[in-house]
């Protein structure tokens, strides 16, 4: 698309949103009706195809649309409350779903009627996600699922889940997985809070006992689960690391504000470190911007892993430095009470929380160590780690 085309498309889109707003008065309409209408008008996620909430436009135009709705004071779909749904489940359903699945799940996902969580990791399958042992066995038109999942953010408020389970233990581990869309209110789904180092429980353990998932909620072919899950994970890494906010929108912005508010605490060594972090964060913002321009038409590949690697390092260093900068004040913590946060905000609450929560950034969505493997093998083409599990049926693997 040339710059002239982009301008024309941008103007058409602006008009389209203006027309929609003229026809739909958000001050009198029910919030949900308004959001559904916005979806049906193709103004939900403009990069999605027509008929599924979009207009088939480059992703870059979404910012303009969101800004125009926000400027009109229109209600949004509370994207922070459904990060997994919007950032991971939706693109995967779009890529691998049948027309019926897209029809059924994408609209309530976007409007926030259905919150999604991710049933991937298990106690025995973390970095080695393909080793999952949760079993799904076919029984008539259903799959019966048994197993235990862990690190499940938001499972306690989710209506739906993306689920990876083993459908064939007789073949090599990557080949025996399938991917499902699981109803969290199905009998046999037991969600228990998992308290974290922050004192809160945003995560859960999820026990699945004879949970029935209809075959119509299998995403992709039987045995194709690893491929589908990889698409989800690539989206996840972009969602976590890709940012998209403006300058000083992340942890370094919080640190910069603390620096400005506390002239008495400034030191020369700290100033150099602050400026290095500020530069790193600004460069990460530019890198994310460039990645999104590259992605304007395509889907995220393993390159997004580099963004997430950088994001985690900066968040951890900046939040650690902020505590140090606060000195005596940094010795206090706001609240260790066990809570269920409504949404997770890496840069929210207080400095102590931010420092502790940032520790998760290099673990969730692929540890930094696994991401370095992904980059070196799948981007740089270096040899894979020597494996002891190739060509062996999952059931025969040493445990």
């Amino acid at each position: 698309m040339t710059a002239t085309d982009a301008r024309t498309v941008g103007e058409d889109l602006r008009q389209r949103v203006a027309d929609f707003l003229a026809e739909h008065d958000h001050t009198t309409m029910e919030r949900l009706d308004f959001l559904r209408a916005r979806y049906d008008a193709g103004l939900a996620w403009v990069n999605f195809p027509a008929g599924h909430g979009g207009l088939g436009l480059p992703r870059a135009f979404q910012t303009q649309v969101d800004a125009q709705f926000a400027a009109a004071g229109a209600p949004d779909n509370n994207p922070r409350g459904n990060g997994i749904g919007l950032g991971m489940a939706a693109p995967t359903i779009l890529a691998f779903g049948t027309e019926e699945q897209k029809e059924k799940f994408l609209r309530p996902l976007w409007t926030g009627e259905q919150i999604w969580c991710q049933l991937f990791s298990e106690p025995g399958a973390g970095s080695d996600l393909a080793a999952v042992s949760t079993r799904a066995v076919r029984e008539g038109g259903d799959w019966v699922v048994n197993g235990q999942k862990v690190w499940t953010s938001g499972a306690h408020k989710a209506q739906m889940a993306i689920l990876v389970a083993r459908t064939n233990p007789e073949v090599a581990k990557h080949a025996g997985l399938s991917y499902f869309l699981c109803n969290m209110d199905a009998p046999g789904v037991d969600v228990r809070p998992l308290r974290q180092i922050t004192g809160e429980a945003e995560f859960n353990e999820v026990f699945l006992t004879d949970v029935h998932v209809p075959d119509s909620q299998r995403l992709g072919d039987e045995g194709q689960g690893w491929k589908v899950a990889t698409a989800t994970l690539n989206n996840e890494r972009v969602a976590i690391g890709g940012g998209g906010g403006g300058r000083e929108s992340g942890m370094v912005g919080v640190l910069a504000r603390t620096w400005r508010e506390h002239p008495e605490r400034r030191g020369a060594g700290q100033h150099d470190k602050l400026m290095r972090l500020w530069v790193d964060a600004e460069v990460a913002r530019m890198t994310g911007q460039r990645l999104r321009q590259k992605l304007a038409v395509g889907e995220p590949g393993p390159e997004g892993s580099a963004m997430k690697l950088t994001f985690a390092r900066i968040a951890q260093e900046a939040s650690g430095m902020e505590l140090e900068l606060l000195g005596e004040e940094g010795l206090r913590f706001s609240d260790w009470t066990m809570k269920r946060p409504q949404h997770v905000d890496f840069t929210g609450r207080d400095a102590g929380y931010r420092y502790l929560r940032a520790k998760g950034n290099s673990i969730e969505g692929g540890t930094s160590e696994i991401l370095r493997n992904v980059i070196s093998e799948r981007v740089l083409g270096l040899p894979s780690e020597p494996r002891v599990d190739t060509g062996i049926a999952w059931k025969d693997l040493p445990r």
Binding site: A3, A6, R7, G10, A256, W259, R260, P263, R266, G267, A268, Q270, H271, D272, L274, M275, R276, W278, V279, D280, E282, V283, A284, M286, T287, Q289, R290, Q293, K294, E303, A306, L309, T310, E369, L371, R372, N373, I375, S376, E377, V379, L380, G381, L382, P383, S384, E385, P386
Partner: protein, 373 residues
Amino acid sequence: MSLNLLYTDVEDDLRSSVRDLVAARSEPNTVLGIYDGDRSVVDPLWRAIAGDLGLAGLLIPEERGGAGASAREAAVVLEELGRSVAPVPFLTSSVVATTVLLAAAPGGAADELLAGLAAGERTAALVLPLSAGPGEESPAFSAEEGRISGSARSVAGAIEADVLLVPVATAGGTAVYAVAAADARIEPVVSLDMTRQLADVTLEGVAGQELLGAGEGGDAVRRGLEVGAALLTSEQYGVAQWCLTTTIAYLKDRRQFGRVVGGYQALKHRLADLYAAVESAGAAARYAAAATADEDPETVVATAVAQSFCSDVAVKAAEEAVQLHGGIGMTWEHPAHLYLKRAKADQIALGTPAAHRARLAELVDLPAPAPVG
């Protein structure tokens, strides 16, 4: 709409022509000869780039005889020149000196020189130490009745230049004079990076022509250094890219303990980190070039950010290239050291990363601590 950080088709074509030309005329082995005093590669290569490809006039508007391109295209050229450590004065003449001259109003004395530069017939150099960054441009020359005297150490591009742009201190500010290189004492110095060899320049009562008066010369010089600093980061990105790709290729080939050494996780993880850094440097350099081309109000911040970041990434990439090549990386024969020397010199050139961070701190309201006592 935000800045376009990708490459246009025209820019891709430009890259191919520069890459082909440099590959045909400037192998690392021929560049290496410079360290032993053989500079025969320089003139033909520079004539081909400046004249045959017509790249010396990229930043000069068409109505002043140039190609009327922008900082984006010049940055692509610099990426390729960095990737090949090409020993040509493109940065010093076609970017820094040219930007200084472009501040002169059309119709004046600078026009003839600009036309000569655009045609690739003339080569110019700004007489300041290569280490001077934006804001560090205090002139070391004075003029008395049109005769200029003074000296500057470690000037880049002076050896190749036929005309020197001399910042001269006057009562009203900095003026810029043109002086024939033949009238100056230009003493080449043994340089850390011989692919951009420096010289000490001395003028003893030499006749000069005033191109920019006291009211405008200081701003013009500063602008030259700003644009130079912004686009140097693209050269640094090119240097870093060569180091990364060459090292990856070597580690896929080199075997020890019966395995390709690139399969060892300790090395894979270092390369993954380096890849992330080099990709980021590419975005920062592209951002600085695009902002410069658009005269975006954020250009000064973007330049300081890119300088701070890319300078260190290029050095890191070159240091990793030497280390991860093992014994061969330490040899004169292997080109890695050409890149290490260029990267280290580039880090200091046009303001150190620390100087750019200090500048940035003021620009973005993150003041340094008040001095003690």
